[in-house]
């Protein structure tokens, strides 16, 4: 396997594998978030479990971080390489005639998602790490000790219309990213999704339903609190 | 005693080739490493020869004007490749393929060569399958065959409608393997502009790098010309735009005899010309004639109405149509050989019955095939009393499955739907049976200079059968030349590397350079195409599907005058030291302007009608065959081999008498 990940195709596999991992993560993230719409308690329980269970914290979390970083870094590297493969650009290029906007602009939808992730890290992840590992409070309880803090923190974040707006826009970009990314990952992995209608339909559904769900959750909390 | 020695080995026909191979001189592997061979042209013949010679251990240099060997015009062959495999068990054999080819060539080819061709044909299929050529297969996984061009067996192997492409890519892949091994050095975008002779032997070439314009000297112990045919002498043909006779013509001028230039195949099923701007003609597979019926209107009024758009062909009833091939040749009908079908179309159009604006088109109608297949399918599917629409739908499905890609191509070009209105077709120049004269070893009259594939004259006589061009190209390249060239090269093992700094190379390069400079500096007032089109016009009108003495004499004079005008007034923009396609064309057209004149002379001398060469003076005068071509075996059963002597018309004729020991000469009849 020496040199595999340095080759063009090896890197495609790497992008696809990290994408698969991120898509599964996204599904799991969504499953927990949607609980917040139905039951604050259930959401709190699930969040606490995820936030304190050692396998999640010490194994999945580093893998996730690696996956996210890898997907971005490799995305940038490939973009740079691909741009250098055509030094002189066309005076007129009618890309719309042969490919979707999404497929041609993965770098931009990806950058939008990256911007959102920065915001997301500042909003949730950094305070989380601060509370748990720097201050050493693994209880998951509110400052007054009355129940879990997770639901409270969540609803609090969705008060600002600006943040909700940014959130909604980011998920629109995620949807665009997934509309191409889902089937693309399968094609890269050698599974021809382009020809397999069902997989493609599922991919489209995934790419629309999931981000839409996240948006609904955000709007729900914004308008209900 | 003729100066021509065909070197056909003695002995019975059936074992000639095997016996010959057994006794041929070989070159030992260590010595092969010290021997260089130049191959000019990388189509089926040149590509396969280069790969095999490299495989054997020779150092091979290949030259082609295209940017890659994969683009040679062999790629455009559609139908298939013949081989005497008898996989269908329908009675095919080497002898039968041999017989069909000699008969199809109207008894003007060399028996021994044709027999050898038939003999090695089966090996070609084995070889190509081993190379990964994706031939069509049946559901049992075995190779499929189709029948072709009026023979009685199914012996044609095919890869969809792209057999030439797949075989060429096979030869190209074999070349690639040798390029990777360093045994072939490819010179793409290079054009051979002269052959260099040292002590009477071919010792190298002068080539121009078409990108930089630099002239290069390349030496070798043997030079193989595989540069294809000269159909573009007609300007409009089914050849590629770049197809040219320059390499063949250059060796002719240096001593290689040129044989039977007047044997040209004019293919009946091409898309008609639509205007003066037309740059080339497109062939549609002959297989269309299996199901299409050819006709023109019976009444001249209907012709006028159709041309003026007042009537559509579908408006004409059966009674108002003249299915002229079925009328004239009831036995073979629409499946008469290519030359007969082409002449019959010309006859009708000359009489004023051509159905398009240029007056040069006849209909090829699939309506009755659609109905026939539709009824058949209804029967198979158990549909009782099917409606007309249903029959049409079912029949269209079958026609689509068989010829869909051709119909699509036609529609793209002509912008008419051939399912709804009959196709229009007209004959077009397609293949040249004539070419450089070669002996049994495929060597020209210049020692060490060989000609293979369409560039030589040897195997097709006066008319080539469908699916035989690919067979000959690959047979020459893979299985014949690699043996026979060894016989010559075995005497070259002590020669050593041939220097290129000798006087011979210097003189040759100088004359090439002078010619290029002449064109660049001429600053005339007509483009190269202007002359090429005019030459094409003369050729088509006077050396085309039917020829007569008066016209041929005129043609020779007109071409000579045109050539003189060309040298005075041709204009070539740009410089010599860059990519300059006008300069390339100028050199090629200059050669066509000479070849065309020799062509007319050859046609004039051959006062008989045979195969693609039809002399109006030589027809049957009475009986059932009245008006049909008349061959004159007693006087003309020879190969015309022309020796260059300055002006084309001064060429000297040498005759190679053809002997037929195995086959009885008969007049072809398709009535």
């Amino acid at each position: 396997m020496s040199g595999f990940f340095k080759s063009s195709i090896g890197r495609k596999y790497a992008m696809a594998l990290s994408a698969f991992f991120l898509m599964i993560f996204l599904l799991q993230h969504f499953a927990i978030n949607i609980l917040s719409v139905f039951s604050a308690d259930a959401f709190n329980e699930a969040s606490h479990f995820m936030g304190t269970f050692w396998i999640v914290q010490y194994i999945f979390q580093p893998i996730l971080i690696f996956g996210v970083v890898y997907h971005f870094v490799m995305g940038f590297i490939l973009e740079a390489k691909n741009r250098s493969a055509r030094v002189k650009k066309y005076a007129k290029n009618n890309g719309g005639a042969n490919s979707s906007w999404m497929s041609r602009n993965m770098i931009y939808s990806g950058l939008a998602i990256l911007a959102f992730l920065v915001l997301h890290f500042i909003d949730f992840w950094i305070p989380e790490i601060n509370t748990k590992y720097i201050q050493g409070d693994m209880s998951g309880l509110l400052a007054d000790g009355e129940g879990y803090r997770y639901y409270e923190e969540l609803t609090h974040k969705f008060v600002s219309p600006l943040r909700v707006g940014a959130y909604v826009i980011a998920f629109v970009f995620l949807s665009l990213h997934l509309l191409h990314g889902f089937s693309s990952a399968f094609q890269s992995a050698g599974i021809s999704s382009m020809r397999k209608k069902k997989l493609q339909t599922f991919g489209k559904a995934y790419a629309i339903v999931l981000p839409l769900g996240f948006i609904i959750i955000a709007l729900y909390h914004h308008f209900n609190h | 005693m003729s100066v021509l020695d065909s070197k056909v080995p003695k002995g019975p026909l059936k074992t000639k080739w095997t016996d010959y191979k057994d006794h041929i001189d070989l070159v030992n592997p260590a010595n092969k490493r010290n021997i260089d061979v130049i191959v000019v042209g990388t189509g089926l013949a040149g590509g396969s020869a280069a790969a095999t010679l490299a495989e054997l251990g020779y150092n091979v240099k290949t030259f082609c004007y295209q940017d890659s060997p994969r683009r040679a015009h062999s790629i455009a062959a559609q139908g298939g490749i013949n081989a005497a495999k008898n996989y269908q068990g329908d009675g095919d054999s080497v002898y039968r393929l041999f017989y069909d080819t000699v008969k199809g060539g109207d008894y003007r080819s060399r028996e021994a060569n044709v027999y050898r061709l038939a003999e090695v044909s089966a090996n070609i299929i084995d070889q190509c399958v081993a190379q990964g050529v994706p031939f069509a297969r049946d559901y049992g996984g075995l190779l499929d065959n189709r029948s072709f061009g009026g023979v009685l067996v199914s012996r044609t192997f095919y890869a969809k409608g792209q057999t030439g492409q797949q075989l060429l890519l096979g030869a190209y892949s074999a070349m690639n393997r040798q390029i990777a091994r360093g045994k072939i050095t490819p010179f793409n975008r290079h054009e051979m502009l002269d052959v260099v002779k040292v002590d009477g032997k071919a010792r190298g070439i002068i080539a121009r790098d078409l990108v930089t314009g630099q002239l290069e000297r390349h030496s070798a112990h043997a030079v193989v010309i595989a540069s294809g045919g000269y159909g573009n002498v007609y300007f409009l043909s089914t050849n590629a735009m770049g197809s040219n006779a320059t390499a063949a013509w250059k060796i002719h001028k240096k001593g290689a005899f040129f044989a039977n230039p007047c044997y040209t195949q004019i293919h009946p099923t091409c898309i008609p010309r639509s205007g003066d701007y037309q740059s080339k003609l497109t062939l549609m597979s002959e297989s269309l004639r299996n199901d299409g019926r050819i006709w023109v209107p019976k009444n001249i009024e209907d012709v006028k109405a159709i041309r003026e758009g007042r009537k559509k062909p579908t408006d004409l009833s059966e009674d108002e149509r003249d299915y002229y091939l079925e009328r004239r040749y009831p036995a073979f009908g629409n499946l008469v050989p290519r030359d007969v079908a082409s002449r019959a179309a010309k006859e009708r159009c000359d009489a004023g019955y051509g159905v398009n604006a240029t007056g040069e088109a006849v209909y090829l109608d699939f309506a009755s095939a659609i109905i026939r297949y539709g009824k058949e399918q209804a029967q198979i599917h158990g549909i009782k009393n099917p409606s007309e629409a249903k029959v049409y739908e079912l029949g269209k499905g079958i026609v689509e499955a068989k010829y869909g890609n051709l119909f699509q191509m036609y529609e793209k070009i002509v912008d008419e739907n051939p399912y709804e209105t009959p196709m229009m077709i007209y004959p077009a120049v397609h293949y040249t049976m004539g070419g450089v004269w070669v002996d049994y070893n495929l060597m020209t009259t210049i020692p060490g200079c060989y000609a293979i594939g369409e560039a030589n004259f040897s195997d097709h006589g006066a008319n080539r059968l469908g699916a035989s061009a690919l067979m000959q190209g690959l047979a020459d390249g893979y299985f014949v030349l690699p043996y026979t060239i060894g016989d010559y090269l075995s005497k070259e093992i002590r020669t050593g590397e041939i220097p290129t700094d000798t006087t011979e190379f210097e003189i040759a390069e100088k004359s090439v350079k002078e010619r290029i400079d002449f064109f660049i500096n001429n600053k005339g007032n007509h483009s190269v195409d202007y002359y090429h089109k005019r030459l094409g016009n003369i050729m088509w009108n006077k050396c085309g599907m039917s020829r007569n003495a008066e016209g041929l004499k005129e043609a020779a004079e007109e071409i000579k005058a045109l050539r003189e005008d060309f040298y005075k007034n041709v204009s070539v923009p740009g410089t010599a030291n860059e990519l300059n396609s006008e300069l390339e064309k100028a050199g090629r057209v200059a050669d066509f302007l000479e070849l065309g004149e020799l062509f007319a002379k050859d046609a004039l001398v051959r006062e008989e009608s045979c195969g693609g060469h039809f002399r109006e003076e030589s027809v049957e005068l009475d009986g059932e065959q009245k008006g049909e071509a008349k061959r004159k075996d007693a006087e003309f059963a020879f190969v015309s081999a022309w020796e260059y002597k300055g002006e084309p018309f001064d060429a000297i004729l040498h005759k190679e008498q053809l002997e037929f020991n195995e086959i009885e000469l008969k007049q072809r009849s398709y009535k």
Binding site: M1, S7, S8, K12, L78, N82, S84, A85, R86, V87, Y90, A91, K92, N94, G95, A97, S99, S100, R104, S184, Q187, S188, G190, M194 | T52, Q66, D67, S68, A72, A76, I125, D126, Q127, V129, A130, P134, R137, G140, L142, L143, Q166, S173, A180, N188, T238, M241, Y277, Q278, S279, T282, M409, K412, I413, D415, S527, D529, P573, E578, S581, E582
Partner: protein, 248 residues
Amino acid sequence: MNLTLKIWRQKGPKDKGSMVDYKVSEISEHMSFLEMMDVLNEQLINQGEEPVAFDHDCREGICGSCSMFINGEAHGPDRGVTTCQLHMRMFKDGDTITIEPFRAKAFPVIKDLVVDRSSFDRVQHAGGYISVNTSGNTQDANAIPISKHAADEAMDAATCIGCGACVASCKNASAMLFVGAKVSQYALLPQGRIEAVDRVKNMVAQMDLEGFGNCTNTGACEVECPKGISLENIARMNREYLTANIKD
């Protein structure tokens, strides 16, 4: 019809080049695109100017020589055709047509619209063959039956004409459709399986070396391919490449 043409003119490989406007008139809708170019060139020659250089040969869509990027698409706006099969009826009187060479680092411009596609040849040298002697002493052609399905699929991959439209259309100038088609043709046939591991590795390595971009599955290549080579061939090459690396 009358047209305005915006054509890339570049004297030689090292020159800078620019777009130049030309006018052509009385163009028939039945002309092929290249015949329209012939008219322009005849006009230029008669005016004493240098004609526009472009690659072309068979003019029937099979040799793969012609290579123009017309109005932002390889081989122009029609589907399933090469430039030589593109007809002027696809355009309207008064149109402005932009004509550029295929652009990719691996396809450097030689002159005007002519590009150097020898990188494709070098990829083929790296493994685009089956290592069998050309002696003809192989086994009988029918000794190994091949399912009709596999043979047909191999044929579909093999119809590639090597024109480079896939590279030209791809936003990344990737050659994966071309390489995938060749890898697939051999991978699908038992004759080609024997060297499958080395072939795919060598061809991909050469492809990367030539400076082609990476595939991001936009599918533009498949749409613009005059022979309709399927993206499935890229997926198959990816599979072949993975298994080749695992086996090794």
